[in-house]
Assembly symmetry: none
Homo-oligomer: 450 residues x 2
């Protein structure tokens, strides 16, 4: 859930060995102020601050506070003063537009007792922007060329509002950026990040590295319990757990002079963690279960077909989210009705009446049936009760059976999930992918007893 980008299979080893580089903390403290009444009404989700936070983290800059405030000149000015006291670098996004409720520059000028003056360079850039688009510049766009006295305009290659850099005493600075994400990013990349790098000086850079391990099948508190002594004992690298959707990640962060030293520090800690959590570990970095499964299927040259009941197509959707999925995913059936289970997958009606559609017997027959139907190496099946209706004392909502069929055998597993209909679907789909992963690793675990 929540996928937004390409799922690429990649090389696998890359993700495993990659450490992400970060410069040391403590050199510079930054603070963000996100301006815009629309954000306070919840009409827009703020993605700018996550982008900026990530870029700052990569530069090793500490960020303690992100503030969001409406288009109110006095409140913005007060926040700017407070942030300027707490941080070396204050970055403000939003409120640089041409209309009367865009007040960021006015507020910053207020905060430092400055006046706004016309910047001829900025004005020329804005005029050039309109000329290029063959559009008439409106009078209020001229407002965008006024800067607090002493400030520098940062060119905006994607729009009219220039960014603004105001350098202050004590090596501190305030940066103002437009709120439109593409414009903000362009000015960050072209002007602000180079400025920060110059400020930090090359000699201070690049000595923090991190690596993320991903786990499925144990909750955050269970994982924390199992490895909390390791976490507590570590100072370099440090280990931080965090919960994702249906999974847990551990981030190992090392300070080191270079990448190989960082890997040398991370390696024994990773090994220690995996000794205890190995059965639940599935991958690294930003690679989800479907990508790990895709890589295993391609490496083993195996094909899979999926028979879904309660997940309603979600497993097939996830498997085909990976670019190149036609290399292992052939076909799938969503057999929602009992009649479909029989007609498509050959599940015997007697099994359905005797054990019910949600049973290990039917899960098994579905897995075998879909493998035969599709002529694939592996058949994967899911049948369960997503809710909110259809549950009983013996078979409550959230009960799901899984089958995995392969040339030698067919195995069946059962799980009880919590949550509403969509959560049960999501959790069951992840569990099915994990069963497929474990089969491909020759590590299926114990199936349900008869």
């Amino acid at each position: 859930m929540g996928y937004r980008h390409e799922q690429a299979i990649g090389k696998g080893e890359e993700a495993q060995h990659r450490v992400d580089v970060v410069v040391p903390t403590g050199e510079m403290i930054a603070e963000l102020i996100i301006v815009g009444t629309e954000l306070l009404l919840g009409e827009v989700v703020d993605t700018n601050s996550a982008y900026m936070a990530q870029r700052l983290a990569e530069l090793g800059i500490d960020l303690y506070y992100v503030n969001r405030v409406g288009d109110n000149r006095k409140r913005i000015a007060q926040l700017v003063q407070q942030a300027h006291e707490r941080a070396d670098l204050v970055i403000i996004s939003g409120g640089l537009g041409p209309t009367a409720d865009d007040l960021t520059k006015e507020a910053v000028a207020d905060a430092f007792g400055l006046e706004l003056v016309l910047c001829q360079d900025a004005l020329a850039d804005i005029e050039e922007h309109f000329r290029r688009l063959n559009r008439v510049m409106s009078e209020n766009n001229k407002r965008q060329a006024y800067l607090p006295k002493g400030a520098t305009a940062l060119p905006n290659p994607k729009g009219t509002a220039p960014g603004v850099l105001l350098e202050l005493s004590g090596g501190k600075a305030v940066v103002m950026l437009p709120g439109v994400p593409v414009e903000l990013k362009a000015i960050m990349e072209d002007s602000v990040i180079p400025y920060i790098r110059r400020k930090l000086g090359e000699e201070n850079r690049a000595t923090i590295y991190y690596k993320v391990l991903r786990f499925y099948g144990l909750g955050e508190s269970a994982i924390d319990n199992i490895v909390q002594d390791i976490i507590a004992a570590q100072t370099n690298p440090t280990i931080a757990p965090y919960a994702g959707s249906g999974e847990v990640r551990l981030r190992i962060t090392a300070k080191a002079a270079n990448e190989s030293e960082a890997l040398r520090l991370i390696e024994p800690v990773e090994r220690q963690l995996l000794e205890r959590l190995g059965p639940y570990f599935y991958g690294y970095g930003d690679e989800g279960l479907e990508i790990v499964v895709a890589r295993l299927l391609l490496a083993q040259k195996k094909t899979v077909a999926v028979a879904e009941s309660c997940t309603g197509g979600l497993i097939s959707h996830k498997l085909t989210n990976v670019a190149g999925s036609s290399g292992y995913y052939m076909q799938g059936a969503v057999t929602y009705s009992n009649a479909a289970k029989t007609a498509v997958l050959g599940v015997e009606p007697e099994l359905l009446t005797r054990f019910g559609a949600v049973s290990k017997q039917v899960a098994k027959a579905m897995a075998e049936g879909v493998r035969k139907w599709a002529g694939t190496d592996i058949g994967l099946s899911v049948t369960g009760i997503a809710g909110p209706g259809g549950g009983s004392a013996a078979k409550p909502v959230g009960l799901v059976y899984f089958g995995v069929s392969y040339p030698q055998d067919t195995k069946v597993f059962g799980r009880q999930f919590a949550g509403d209909r969509l959560q049960v679907k999501e959790r069951a789909a992840l569990a099915a992918l994990d069963i497929l992963r474990r089969y491909l690793l020759g590590n299926l675990g114990e199936e349900l007893e008869d």
Copy 2:
């Protein structure tokens, strides 16, 4: 994408006639504090604050500041003090988990000089949660039952961490909620919003009403262009457009003494909007295309089967997200390979070689084939190029064909979508649902010419 709650079919007329009640502004000032180091590292985009901001805006509560801070006890405590000075209601999300870096309750206790005490009710709820899941509760989950002295636990129906309500002098309060979005939303809806309504008092309530109209098939700026004169002319009710995922909504907001007066104000504006945008209008409020389609299928007692290629199961997933979907959804096939299209759906190999898998001819054969395969009233098919590979000059990435087969005929449609693999899948799935909706309304529109 991004569904988190039950999709209920409901009565339909309810959604159409419902106006949501909002109280006047100025009665209460709120402030949000979003806790989590992962947010300051930019690893996670904060969606909780947009949701909370929206709900608070609907309640007419002013929100001046949203603060984000890391898992740092001292900084959280300082922010809580500052927010408590500026606002009547402080809502904190995150930092209620079971691990040592979850420090919100400790920080709030620090801010007000309180100690943490064990809440037996909260402990019983947590124990019950683990019992229900048949899992062993770990010792550190017990931490989640400790509250600042004098505070009340707010039940968490979706997880272990209870919310916390701390009422303070001067009618002020601090609310703590878990950072997991489904849990946060559940506690907001079940406990926090009812609490706020009680605090506001019945006499202050209910003088702002709004109604949301949903449109598919036109972009936000196109809709804005078509109805901007209506929007500009309105003062009561007002009209605000906002873009959703692949769709646009118009919110009509009326101030009125009571609901029937609000409806009287809204009705002519709604009619004016629908006169111009009627063909693109599909529903009201929080009901997505799949719910509208579900209601039409049930009312017409029609069944549907789906044959998917590039969407890979997403359409079936959406159709089965609606509780009660077994009443109209029988079965679906994800025929990813050409062999599957032929074996399952009876698409003639000659069509595939002559026109290609992504063609109107194959979309048509798939729709007819799936209808026959499943024995349903309607067959719906999708075949296209989700990318990033597989495109050509003649058939670029994002090209998708749709077929809808029914007793009298089969019709075919083509669309070109922008975006990455997952966006193309999502947009194609919505387009397919809209085609099904239009068929059910007897308003299919023009199909592709031969």
